[in-house]
């Protein structure tokens, strides 16, 4: 019996079923593999004479509009999530970070004294500012540089943002209580403020250097 005779003897319905089974096998093999599966490795799973390229093309076509795609990568076949869904797949892990004492003081000085230069902040605080302080405050989205002081060197001046107002529940900067009001609220009393320990950020930023 020759191969040709055998092929001819196969019931077309059976042949379609067999093809479907082979599609399922390569689908499962590619799915289960940790690495892209090369053509040769897939061909090994299939009976002699099966056109792998056609199978793969059919499978690829099948997944074309789905959430996962069958793609070629690193010399083999692999399933990947559809590139256009990258945004929808992105998950956010929210990490709560506390501001260090130096950072929140700087923020407060910017809020009360804006527009204010870095040197002025340092003068008010009486200590030099750590490099990362303004960077981190920028990261919070609560401060931004705006304008320059028309003095020698034309230093940048810092202001608070709308996000600052939103975060702290203020309508305008005028809502910030003045010193007298802070005093009346007892905020100027001599007592340790423990709610703002020197916790710093999770990044373990070094404390500011005192001058």
């Amino acid at each position: 019996m020759t191969g040709e005779d055998e092929t001819a003897a196969i019931d077309p319905e059976e042949a379609a079923e067999e093809r479907q089974r082979l599609l399922r096998v390569v689908e499962a093999v590619v799915f289960a593999s940790a690495e892209p599966v090369p053509d040769e490795a897939l061909a090994e799973r299939l009976p002699e004479g099966v056109a792998l390229a056609e199978l793969m093309e059919e499978l690829q076509r099948f997944y074309r509009f789905r959430g996962i795609h069958l793609v070629r990568a690193a010399g083999g076949w692999v399933f990947r999530t559809a590139p256009d869904l990258a945004g929808a797949l992105a998950t956010e892990r929210v990490e709560t970070r506390r501001l260090s004492r130096a950072q929140i003081e700087t923020l407060a000085i910017i809020a009360y004294h804006q527009p204010v230069t870095r040197a002025e902040i340092e003068e008010i605080r009486g200590v030099s500012m750590h490099k990362g302080t303004l960077d981190l405050l920028m990261e919070t989205g609560w401060v931004q540089p705006r304008g320059r002081r028309e003095t020698p060197g034309r230093p940048v001046t810092w202001v608070t943002t709308d996000a600052f107002l939103r975060h702290f529940g203020l309508d305008t900067l005028k809502d910030l209580p003045n010193l007298a009001e802070l005093e009346a609220a007892g905020l100027l009393d001599q007592r340790p403020v423990e709610t703002l320990g020197e916790t710093g950020t999770d990044r373990g930023e070094p404390p500011e250097e005192e001058l």
């Binding site: 499962a28 799915f31 289960a32 593999s33 940790a34 690495e35 692999v78 399933f79 990947r80 999530t81 990258a86 797949l89 992105a90 998950t91 956010e92 892990r93 929210v94 990490e95 709560t96 970070r97 506390r98 501001l99 004492r101 929140i104 003081e105 923020l107 407060a108 000085i109 809020a111 009360y112 008010i124 605080r125 009486g126 990261e139 919070t140 609560w142 975060h167 702290f168 529940g169 203020l170 910030l176 209580p177 010193l179 802070l182 005093e183 609220a185 905020l187 100027l188 001599q190 403020v193 709610t195 703002l196």
Partner: protein, 247 residues
């Protein structure tokens, strides 16, 4: 020991899983539903098994012998029914308790078989081999309340105010310093000069400790003959000059 005849026992030592396990194995030989099993027949089978093991000098754990004794007792109770003593279970209750244990163990054995007959992960079905997509991003939320902000500002202002009121540590001018200063200066001074001219400039000439220390130093230098002192009136200015070399 694989020879197997009707009613005979199969001594499959690998299958030994305690007396209850053995009883269950024997019960299966009866090929009836466990709910209809004859405990009496089972007890006889078990006792026959133990006797055979004994003949074959197989070492059986104490559990099996204890069970044998208990079954022998149960068998006698079942064969000679008499009312149980006060508070003691009847023979039927004892038989039912044993039957329950057999059913329960059988149920667990079947459950185990069903569990392992499932499509098992890593054996029959496979998870995606692709590493999970690295789609996680970390978003920082900064925790700061208005209270934090205001109290930080208030504290900062309070500290700044406190700095202005700070009292400086008093500066003390030591006699030793004054003596060294005076000695180095007087070497070049041939004329009479007022003591006030030798006060350290740091104290602006008016510092009490500067004057007192320099005065004490001048007395010491005069005592050791290095300078001469002169005062014309009481509370008048004090004059000093380098001592004349002795001829």
């Amino acid at each position: 020991m694989t020879e197997r005849t009707q009613g005979d026992l199969v001594l499959d030592l690998d299958g030994f899983e305690g007396p209850i396990g053995l009883l269950l194995m024997l019960a299966r030989e009866q090929k009836v539903d466990l709910r209809r099993i004859s405990i009496l027949a089972l007890a006889e089978q078990y006792l026959a098994f133990i006797a055979k093991a004994d003949r074959l000098q197989l070492e059986l754990a104490a559990d099996y012998l204890v069970m044998a004794a208990w079954l022998a007792y149960l068998k006698s109770r079942l064969l000679l029914p008499e009312p149980p003593a006060e508070g003691e279970p009847s023979a039927e209750e004892m038989a039912e308790a044993l039957a329950f244990r057999l059913r329960r163990l059988e149920a667990m054995q079947q459950a185990a078989a069903s569990l392992f007959a499932r499509p098992l992960l890593g054996r029959d079905v496979f998870a995606s081999g692709a590493p999970p997509a690295a789609t996680e991003t970390v978003r920082s939320v900064f925790a700061a309340s208005l209270y934090d902000l205001l109290s930080a500002y208030a504290r900062q202002r309070r500290d700044a105010t406190a700095q202005i009121l700070e009292i400086r540590a008093p500066q003390y001018y030591a006699v030793e310093d004054a003596q060294a200063r005076l000695a180095s200066m007087i070497g070049t001074v041939m004329d009479w000069r007022q003591l006030a001219q030798f006060l350290p400039p740091r104290l602006g000439g008016g510092g009490d400790t500067g004057l007192a220390a320099t005065f004490a130093a001048s007395l010491e230098l005069a005592r050791t003959g290095r300078i001469e002192l002169r005062q014309e009136t009481a509370f008048g200015p004090l004059w000093l000059r380098a001592a004349r070399p002795q001829r």
